[in-house]
Symmetry: C2
Subunit: 179 residues, 2 copies
């Protein structure tokens, strides 16, 4: 990987635009990965992320048990792999092997990073109060990585439902006094 550490104060800029991310977990040393669109930033620094994982998902047990995961931001070039990950279950398939994704060891947590994603966040579960009602895990990002060549050409994908996606492309800037 030609990725660099991203300061934790900059993490919100990766998730605030609302891209589909790949959430990677690990159970008994076996990694799994699922796409997640239901996430929001909750705090700038340390970066906190609310992320919904339903108890109908295979990842739910692994995330609940290990209390660690990674969030990985794919570009549009990975759209087919992302959809395949969403249509398969880790119960039956080793998704990394089946869909050509490369697990790379993380530095601070046990689940792997997804090498093909252009940004990777290592996360710990810090609050589970809303898990029983909504499946909402509060994650703290403890380490972040970015492919610096993608800072200005993210080409993230945004799920509209029922297999429809948008690519976020053209960027613009308007003077903002806020973060």
């Amino acid at each position: 990987m030609r990725k660099r550490a991203l300061p934790l104060s900059r993490v919100y800029g990766l998730l605030e635009p609302g891209p589909v991310v790949l959430l990677a977990t690990s159970a008994r040393g076996r990694p799994n990965v699922m796409p997640v669109s239901w996430h929001t930033m909750l705090e700038f620094e340390p970066p906190l992320v609310g992320c919904v994982v339903s108890d109908r998902n295979h990842s739910f047990a692994a995330l609940s048990a290990l209390r660690e995961c990674t969030l990985n931001v794919p570009g549009v070039e990975l759209a087919r792999e992302v959809v395949r990950c969403g249509n398969a279950s880790g119960r039956e398939v080793d998704k990394f092997a089946a869909f050509g994704l490369t697990p790379v060891p993380a530095s601070r947590v046990r689940p792997p990073l997804v090498a093909e994603c252009w940004a990777n966040l290592e996360c710990r579960v810090v609050d589970t109060r809303l898990v029983p009602r909504y499946g909402l895990f509060v994650l703290e990002v403890v380490k972040a990585w970015i492919d610096p060549s993608r800072r200005r050409r993210r080409r993230t994908i945004h799920h509209l439902g029922r297999g429809r996606f948008m690519v976020a492309g053209r960027e613009f800037r308007l003077a903002s006094g806020k973060k």
Copy 2:
């Protein structure tokens, strides 16, 4: 408004892609509006949305007191107004009047809809457990409106931080077995 009611089962498709939305509140009959990017779907139907409003925001008191708001989805043509709403405070400015936005009565809640936005969601606060720690309000969408001409050309804006935005444009479809 040439808007139509949108079935509540379709609401998630508006917010799941992560656009900036305008959150409108009302206090003593005076409406206010602020841009919010920190939101996530929590349930499909009835649609539940987790939405962060900091207690540093003027809207916090109105939302906490009235327990109702609207979420309004702007297209890129409203980007300047959205940024102006973010850079001003309802403490000092009537943002609707100052930035040329039109408040329209909602059908089920007291805060107004923003006429210029292409989709509008009427919401009630249903869970405040995570408000003290994270400012996270759980909203139930009780009525939804859409400009049908925008279903296929949303042109939503997605905040990258520090005044940088992306426009989500090109759409594509990949067979998905999921919602």
